[in-house]
């Protein structure tokens, strides 16, 4: 394996790890259930995507024969299952009215109090 492919793999892994980390930070920092949902669902798309790409490059350019395509299948299954998970979680949250308002008649509804997220200086 040449230095160029090695560095490409390294960069992709780091990038993937960075986005997964950011997803987790989002999960920890955001205030209510529905906004928290955004962190983890995002990490799967770009973060895991980058890592899988790195894996595909690594195992395709290694000593073993042929190109590795498993990663494509993983990505495909991830992309069709991640929205389902998010959908079910969000639906359960709405059902239990976790910290958000439900929209009524076609009008868009803002976050918690119909306002922006609370300013840290004003609330606490």
């Amino acid at each position: 394996m040449s230095t160029a492919t090695e560095s490409a793999v390294a960069v992709l892994i780091l990038l993937g790890a960075l986005f997964v980390l950011l997803g987790s930070i989002g999960l920890a920092r955001l205030p209510d259930f529905l906004t928290r949902l955004h962190g983890p669902t995002k990490a799967t798309t770009l973060g895991v995507g980058a890592m899988l790409l790195a894996s595909a490059i690594f195992f395709s350019s290694g000593t073993n024969e042929g190109i590795s395509l498993h990663e494509l299948a993983i990505l495909f299954f991830l992309f069709i299952t991640a929205p389902v998970t998010a959908h079910l979680l969000a639906k359960a949250a709405l059902h239990r009215q976790t910290g958000t308002q439900q929209s009524d008649s076609g009008t868009p509804v803002r976050g918690r109090d119909g306002e922006k997220l609370p300013h840290p200086d004003k609330t606490s």
């Binding site: 986005f19 950011l22 997803g23 930070i25 989002g26 920092r29 955001l30 205030p31 209510d32 529905l34 906004t35 949902l37 955004h38 962190g39 669902t41 995002k42 798309t45 770009l46 995507g49 042929g66 590795s68 395509l69 498993h70 494509l72 299948a73 495909f76 992309f79 069709i80 991640a82 929205p83 389902v84 998010a86 959908h87 969000a90 639906k91 709405l94 958000t100 308002q101 439900q102 929209s103 076609g106 009008t107 868009p108 509804v109 803002r110 976050g111 918690r112 306002e115 922006k116 997220l117 609370p118 300013h119 840290p120």
Partner: protein, 162 residues
């Protein structure tokens, strides 16, 4: 042909997935994949009463390119929002009125919306055909509605005759 492959597209998907998972290692595995490609669509026939017809496949390539580019740019945006000051965000539940009238396409649209960061599709109301979307930061909900409809729903409607 109709009898053997009632859903040609689903058969092709199953066969391709099988080839990818097994790395298409041998002829025997490919034959088994062919068998699965015939069996699976036949067994799942009752679940798909009338699937939408694919009429403009080449548009799907363009939609996929737009989708892939959106994943990258929007991921970056959400990453910045998540580490930035949170009080600047205005999360919103938004109802997106749909023009399409097909459960499968609505599911596809919902999945695309969920995978592009910043928005999660929560519910499809099949009485009123409204997609309920939660956005992490939507200062202008109407703009988001327009974006979803123009970028994703319109191409979907063109790809599948609907």
């Amino acid at each position: 042909m109709r009898w053997l492959l009632p859903r040609p597209l689903l058969s092709a998907t199953v066969f391709l997935l099988w080839a990818v998972i097994t790395n298409a290692a041998s002829l025997a595995l490919l034959l088994l994949g062919g068998l699965l490609a015939i069996a699976v669509p036949r067994l799942t026939l009752p679940f798909w009463p009338d699937p939408p017809r694919l009429v403009r496949p080449w548009r799907a390539v363009r939609l996929f390119a737009v989708f892939a580019a959106d994943i990258v740019t929007a991921n970056w945006r959400v990453a910045r929002q998540v580490v930035g000051p949170l009080y600047r965000l205005s999360p919103a539940l938004i109802e997106v009125p749909l023009d399409l009238r097909d459960p499968f396409l609505a599911t596809l649209l919902g999945s695309i919306v969920s995978l592009t960061p910043g928005t999660v599709a929560i519910d499809v109301d099949r009485q009123r055909w409204v997609l309920l979307v939660h956005a992490l930061d939507a200062p202008d909900p109407q703009a988001l509605v327009r974006e979803i409809k123009d970028r994703y729903e319109l191409p979907l409607k063109e790809i599948f005759a609907c």
